[in-house]
């Protein structure tokens, strides 16, 4: 269970995430969908207590991450597959983490086996492909047999077989009652992996719900808007029954309202529009591809 309340993080004068509030439930796979720079990685670092929020709070399994007695048993995280010392072997990397928690060497071997790293475990990580690094990151996340998994773009760089394996793995983990939260910038990927979706654009949450709900709301009478200030427009449009997704930083797909309404809101807020087009159900295919 992950509960964020009004989570805001600013880096200098750049606001990476803005008053995020959400709950990620256990027993299901929740996808975190958003374009590059939307704030997915930032949110995950905030959950892990690695970056300090500018304001707001986030709890994992009822407590701030850092206050758990056994952090690696609560949350396993893959934040950046390449963030391992290149001069160290995969096994050494896992052993350094295991040692802190007195996790047995047999568990290190086990996660190495599980992630298919057995052949490369003693090789220096510097020579790993992105796919191998992802496997190592997943091995590290599984090390403490955690109740909650946070995976930042875990299938990035994996071959089709690896992608299939990750999908099966996260489903199994969720079926065991664990919380699984994983990010991607591809709707097509999310629709095949996740049950629930949290869609983020420019630091704002723009849609939540089951994958089908999000797809349906986008498909039914969606309005496509392009604006250089899309995030402000998204914030201004947020209302009951309105779902907003953001395929890229300057574009919004708004559903549950009309093009006229979007135009009015933009005008009232002084926000320039470069495009405002009502879409039919055909947009479903585009969003999913």
């Amino acid at each position: 269970m992950i509960e964020a309340h009004e989570l805001t993080k600013r880096y200098g004068d750049k606001t990476a995430v803005h008053t995020l509030s959400f709950t990620i439930a256990p027993g299901t796979v929740t996808g975190f969908l958003g374009p590059n720079g939307a704030g997915k990685s930032t949110t995950m670092r905030l959950i892990m207590g690695l970056d300090r929020p500018t304001s707001g709070t986030v709890l994992v399994n009822g407590k701030p991450y850092g206050q758990h007695r056994s952090p690696l048993r609560e949350v396993g995280a893959l934040l950046d597959a390449k963030a391992v010392h290149p001069g160290r072997s995969a096994r050494s990397h896992l052993r350094t983490m295991a040692a802190t928690h007195h996790i047995k060497a047999s568990r290190v071997s086990e996660v190495i086996e599980m992630t298919g790293l057995a052949g490369a475990a003693t090789k220096r990580v510097g020579g790993f492909s992105l796919g191998m690094s992802q496997r190592l990151g997943i091995a590290a996340a599984l090390l403490g047999d955690p109740r909650t998994l946070i995976l930042d773009e875990p299938v990035n760089g994996l071959d089709p077989e690896g992608v299939q394996w990750v999908r099966q793995l996260v489903r199994d983990l969720a079926a065991e009652g664990r919380t699984v939260f994983l990010s991607s910038h591809l709707m097509s990927e999310m629709s095949q992996t996740a049950d629930q979706l949290l869609v983020i654009g420019r630091g704002h949450i723009i849609a939540t719900g089951s994958v089908q709900q999000v797809i349906d709301s986008v498909a039914s009478g969606a309005v496509r808007v392009r604006s250089p200030r899309a995030d402000e427009l998204a914030a201004a449009l947020t209302a009951d029954g309105v779902t907003i997704t953001s395929p890229d930083a300057s574009m919004l797909e708004v559903s549950g309202t009309t093009a006229e309404h979007v135009g009015q809101v933009a005008f009232r807020n002084g926000l320039p529009l470069y495009e405002l087009s009502p879409r039919g159900a055909s947009s479903k295919r585009r969003t999913c591809s």
Binding site: D51, L72, A83, T96, A99, T100, G127, S129
Partner: protein, 285 residues
């Protein structure tokens, strides 16, 4: 490389979870993690080997230049007051620099590669990680100092014996110089670790360490102003002088007393580390 890109067989999700009872961070566990980290990197062995090599070679060089000293009548009487252990410790300030590089790498290596996030995810309280690194650094510095001193003793024996300067192992003066060398090297290493934790960059930290440890005392010593000389005497290298002599040479220059030296060097080690420990909590990893 081909083995790395091959598709290894996929295994299903197995469950043999770690026993719940004892699985949480403790200081001994964190310390063990830091040992695995430091010993699994080649850069550690390079830094240690170059420290030993530099100290030994400079000791050998100063032992060999003793003959030049005796040829010069003005310096000849200086050798009378010299202690063999001082010759052996002659290369220590170069060792100070390589050991400072090791101290910096211990933490900047983690920031540069991003490993620091795995580290702090495993130990969210953060400070024990710094404590464990400091402890590892002290042990490594002590080990490399002992090895360097032994090597230096062996390689200079021939030269020193010509002047009857081979340090006696039952002479307290010998152990005083060795102890002073060890103390100063540990101070330099911890100073560098503290600075590096604050600065997070290898280049910046090594520059600061190089400047404070070696460059400043060298350049400022050309300025013959009382207050500048006072400042210089508090820099780590001059401050360590009192600890590296058997006492006879203490009269030359504005050197601190033994006690003052111990305190000043301890401050160099502790103050940056304490500042680092405090800011470590507040800053983003």
């Amino acid at each position: 490389m081909s083995t790395l890109t091959d598709n290894p067989p996929m295994t299903a999700h197995a469950t043999n979870p770690p026993a719940a009872a004892q699985v949480h961070p403790t200081f001994p566990g964190i310390l063990r993690g830091e040992w695995i980290k430091v010993l699994s990197l080649r850069s550690t062995w390079w830094a240690l080997a170059s420290t030993a090599a530099v100290i030994t070679l400079v000791a050998l060089a100063s032992a060999m230049s003793l003959s030049a000293t005796t040829d010069d009548p003005a310096l000849a009487q200086g050798i009378e007051q010299m202690h063999g252990a001082e010759v052996i410790a002659g290369g220590f300030h170069f060792g100070m620099l390589t050991i400072a590089v090791l101290g910096a790498l211990l933490i900047t290596g983690e920031y540069a590669t991003g490993t620091i996030r795995s580290t702090f995810a495993a130990v969210p309280s953060r400070t024990p990680v710094l404590g464990a690194k400091a402890l590892v650094l002290i042990v490594l510095t002590a080990a490399v100092t002992l090895v360097s001193a032994t090597l230096s003793y062996l390689v200079t024996m021939l030269q020193l014996s010509q002047y009857d300067l081979v340090p006696a192992l039952d002479d307290p003066g010998t152990w005083r110089v060795l102890g002073g060398t060890l103390y100063s090297l540990i101070a330099a290493a911890l100073f560098s670790l503290g600075i590096a934790t604050l600065l997070r960059s290898t280049a910046a930290s090594v520059t600061v360490a190089l400047t404070v440890l070696l460059l400043l005392p060298g350049t400022l010593s050309f300025i013959r102003l009382d207050w500048v000389e006072t400042i210089v005497s508090y820099l780590p290298l001059p401050a360590s002088s009192a600890l590296l002599t058997t006492g006879a040479a203490e009269t030359q220059g504005v050197y601190l007393s033994t006690q003052a030296s111990l305190i000043v060097l301890a401050a160099y080690a502790v103050v940056p580390l304490a500042a680092a420990a405090i800011t470590l909590h507040r800053r983003d990893a």
